[in-house]
Amino acid sequence: MALPFPLSDLLVILPELILSELALGILLWAAVVKRERERALAWASLASLAIAAALLPVAASFAGELPRSAFGGMIALDGFSLFFKALTLLAAAVTILFSLRFVGTSPYPGGEYYALLLLTTVGMMFMASGTHLVSIYVALELMALSQYVLAGYFKQETKSVEAAAKYFVLGAFSSGVLLYGLSLVYGATGTLSLGGVSAALEAAPRSTLLMVGVVLVACGMLFKVASAPFHVWAPDVYEGAPTPVSAFFAVGPKLAAYAIFARIFFDGFGPRSDDWAPVLAASAALTMVVGNVGALMQTNVKRLLGYSSIGHAGYALLGLLAYRAGGAAGQPEAFGLWAILFYLTAYLLMTFGAFGLVVLLEAKGYATESVDDFNGLWKRNPLAAGAMVVFLLSLAGIPPTAGFVGKYLLFSAALKAGWPALVVLGVLMSAVSLFYYFRIVRAMYLVDGEGEVRWREEPAVAVAVGLCFAGTLAFGVLPQPLIALAKSCLLP
């Protein structure tokens, strides 16, 4: 019996394959490792991520001409997916650096934690390259299930378990809604491959069944990227989950969800974009307002960053809407898309940076971090305070930071695509965001007192935050290399 696929298809998924094997290896190793040597597991996980990252270009070169479809059209390797895979690997690596002491000093085993982190990364990587709704769905569930466990990993902390319960119920519910939408799409088009759906939409007349399906899929996706009106879970989960995990949740799953959002809606439902674009636009507007206004009232730093990440989800939706910017066939159409790639990279750097400083707060006890903890940080550690200011400026979108360039690119793409009202709203909301970001700056520089943030306790976190700091500034001053990279990833 012949194999159903050429063996070379395995090379296309080489990074995922190796990473999942290494994750299983770490799981086995965790069974025999001594407690005091447990840190080695973290380093091994980091090494596994590095190996997977190094294999990305190898897989690309083996694959030959991109985009390379594999396993009968289940997944495809292209520049877009490579970019997202690199980002998710980076996100997982930073999370491990954050987790070293956090998990190491907790009474919970580290092996399963790191293995689950690697497996959720595998899920995200498969999501980034999925071109068939079945493979996208199964990969999404692989990612989500590991994350439910990670959210509740600190199982004697009530907040952690509550966060897991909330995340689980809303995650499973949104998956159900998404699936129901997919089933209607299947009924209306007779296929589940994105190319097939798109072709069927081109050919078929407008169908209400499909519209309902697309709207339900959109609802499910908006849940996953924490956009209004389906955002309520995000601040609760970010507050309750272990802080390194919260940082990961704010970045990793969102990256992967944006990747499949773009794939499903442009490669799949693209021919019907006139129907669903207004829905996305409404959600983007609502998300920007809800996220930024909601953040104004928060005193807990993790909740504040959670609301701010909702606001950022709204900006990123603008980028999705602007995918069509340009109009002419070929590369100008991708303008909105590479703006998203740049923006998400900047978002990764600045969000991880800000969360990294929050990780240092945990010395005080589980999930009790408030803005006051930053009081007088400037006197005790000018370096940390300065880094935080840069991250906050970047989140607010002020030059010379990567956040500014990203927002600028997104907004100009949205203008080109014909959403001026949304851009005005976005700029207004960025101004609102200054208020709450400034509260942290005020605490650090203007309020006297002994806050709880200590520095230098954790070299691993310091290294990770330093990297984010360097990236945020570097891509703010010199955005060209990253823009060029994002562009080159999108061009065939």
């Binding site: 466990v149 009530t158 907040k159 509550e162 119920v169 499973a172 299947y186 007779g190 589940l192």
Partner: protein, 100 residues
């Protein structure tokens, strides 16, 4: 004759009951069961469309949905257990230590 509309109508009814259950009930166990109802509604749809189109994709997808439902139930119930150990309750509203 049983038509596609029969199955799709039934599936929609079950879907709505499941959604209402998730929104209305506070007992985590019942909420989990309501989510299972939603997934069952999806499967009825998939199988019905598969029958209509004479295409096996729907049936295969429904097998995947069943696999995922089983995994989700395992994790969901484990979360319920750990919540119960901490709070002696499986009510979602009791889990409101955090401000909404």
């Amino acid at each position: 004759m049983i038509t596609l509309a029969h199955f799709v109508g039934l599936s929609f009814v079950v879907f709505t009951i499941g959604v209402v259950g998730v929104l209305v009930r506070r007992n985590l166990l019942t909420v989990l069961m309501s989510i299972e109802l939603i997934l069952n509604a999806v499967n009825i749809n998939l199988v019905a469309f598969s029958r209509q189109l004479g295409d096996l994709t729907g049936q295969v997808f429904s097998v995947f949905v069943i696999i995922v439902a089983a995994g989700e139930a395992a994790i969901g119930l484990a979360i319920v257990l750990s919540l119960y150990r901490l709070k002696s309750s499986v009510n979602l509203e009791d889990a409101a230590e955090m401000r909404g």
